[in-house]
């Protein structure tokens, strides 16, 4: 008797194992597809807001007068301005077009320095080349002009100019192939624009950080309300940031349209350095 108690068939051993595995697979799939809370964000561009307004720097540096125009127009138009403030802006753009703009703006002196930058596109190396006396003179001239222009323009525009100059520098790197840099250049542009619009509330201290999600149209305008995903902890500061974003709409477009994403996460450190 005991024999058949032991020998009895075990029904559905493998079947059960397969069914159990299938059960868990189902459960896993269900979890995977139903529990993605915030997976759909394409990219987060970090933007830092700095408490000191950058207006001071604008006059000192030599960004070309036409620069403000640059921001609004496509890249080719931007090229003419860069020549005066040596190679940096030039390098930001593609090399072939360079010769054309240079003759237009500053006929004789420019051609000589320009060829040098081409072979070695990196900004660091160019600076030494640019420094020689002829450039200095040009620089001074440019500075004078700049001052006049700067006086004429509003301070916000100066900030923009500054930002675009920086963005151009970074875009330089992007031209070398890194699309990421293009994205960060765009981030800098956005940062500069918002930076110029923020009005800091009194009494804010520390180095709080805020994370704000915004949705963009392709033309750069902000759709709907920006959403505060992580507060700074100071409601007044949060409001200031949100207001600055709304006020900054439309935000600048990226130089490289492929960088554009609809949903951005902006990180603000409005009081940071």
């Amino acid at each position: 008797m005991r024999e058949h108690a032991l020998k009895r068939p075990e029904p559905g051993k493998w079947q059960s194992a397969v069914l159990a595995a299938g059960m868990h697979l189902l459960l896993g799939l269900f979890l995977f597809y139903s529990v993605r809370w915030q997976t759909s964000k394409p990219a987060a561009v970090q933007v830092e807001l700095i408490s000191s307004m950058p207006t001071v720097e604008a006059p000192v540096r030599l960004p070309p007068p036409p620069e403000p125009v640059v921001e609004k127009r496509p890249e080719p138009v931007v090229e003419p301005p860069p020549p005066p403030p040596p190679p940096k802006p030039d390098i930001a753009f593609k090399e072939p077009p360079k010769p054309k703009p240079v003759p237009k703006v500053e006929p004789k002196p420019e051609p000589k320095p320009e060829p040098k930058p081409k072979p070695e596109p990196k900004p660091v190396e160019k600076k030494p080349d640019v420094k020689p006396p002829p450039d200095m003179r040009r620089e001074i001239e440019a500075q004078d002009r700049m001052f006049k222009e700067a006086m004429a323009r509003e301070s916000a525009e100066q900030a923009k100019r500054e930002a675009s100059r920086e963005a151009d520098l970074i875009a330089q790197a992007a031209a070398e192939g890194a699309r990421r840099n293009a994205a960060s250049a765009w981030g800098d542009k956005i940062s500069a624009k918002i930076r110029s619009n923020i009005v800091l509330p009194p009494g804010a201290t520390g180095n709080p950080e805020a994370l704000v999600a915004i949705a963009l149209l392709p033309d750069g305008s902000v759709v709907g309300e920006p959403r505060m995903k992580r507060s700074t902890g100071n409601p007044a500061l949060d409001d200031a940031i949100l207001r600055a974003i709304v006020k900054s709409s439309p935000l600048p477009k990226p130089d490289d349209p492929s960088v554009f994403v609809r949903n951005l996460d902006l990180v603000f450190r409005p009081l940071g350095q």
């Binding site: 020998k7 029904p11 059960s16 994370l211 992580r230 902890g233």
Partner: protein, 229 residues
């Protein structure tokens, strides 16, 4: 550049601390085993019930006991619980009845004891591994809770370095930790439901077997004196 947290279930599991991961792995293992036994037991119980139905029908349709006994003895491996009980009882009865100095009452008693032994063996077989389901149901939520408590402790410990504590800084850690509890519950709930269901089903089947034993004893008792001499 990537301050946005990705809260998909995969990243939640991947970001958990080692201990929490171990807890999750353990729970997934337990959950797998409990589902395995849920399926096996449900097959076994369904099989036992359908065989009992079939045998009861055969038995009460008034067939010859000897023929039934032959077919049960020849087809041992496919026999259901009730069939085995019948076979054990009848075999013992025949053996005892063949002896000279044994009366019917004693033979029926012997048959009854044999049936009881087989009955217990069969019920034990059906009930095996139910205890596993029961302990899965009661213990795995605690295991999951342990993982969660540990994960939340870590989340708060990480917070001590931050000047300003916001909900957003703790939330991912807590979400991570809670996954452990979720897995524990996923393992426990089906196990508890299945345990209760199976225990009830097995009770009903064993009651049927028991009443069959009584009825069959009566039949043996009735038939005994006639055939014994």
């Amino acid at each position: 550049m990537n301050l946005s947290e990705d809260l998909s279930i995969i990243s939640l599991i991947m970001n958990a601390s080692l201990l929490v991961k171990l807890v999750m792995a353990l729970l997934i293992g337990i959950s797998f085993m409990s589902w395995y036994w849920i399926f096996r037991k449900s097959f076994a119980i369904r099989g036992a019930r359908s065989r009992t139905d079939k045998f009861e029908l055969e038995f009460w349709s008034g067939g010859d006991l000897n023929a039934l006994f032959q077919s049960a003895a020849n087809d041992r491996h496919n026999a259901g619980g009730m069939e085995r009980i019948f076979e054990a009882g009848y075999r013992e009865f025949i053996k005892l009845r063949g002896r000279q100095n044994i009366d019917t009452a004693t033979a029926v008693d012997g048959a009854r004891r044999a049936m009881r032994a087989t009955y217990q063996r069969e019920v034990d077989e059906l009930e095996s591994h139910l205890a596993f389901l029961a302990s899965t149901g009661s213990v795995s939520p605690y295991i999951g809770l342990f993982g969660t408590v540990w994960g939340i402790m870590n989340a708060f410990r990480g917070l001590s370095n931050v000047g300003q504590a916001t909900l957003a800084q703790v939330a991912p850690g807590i979400a991570e930790a809670l996954v452990a509890t979720a897995i524990g519950l996923f393992a426990a709930i089906p196990a508890v439901v299945a345990y209760n269901r199976f225990a009830h089903d097995i009770d009903r089947i064993s009651i049927r077997w028991e009443s069959f034993m009584e009825e069959f004893s009566n039949i043996l008792q009735r038939q005994g004196p006639g055939k014994a001499q």
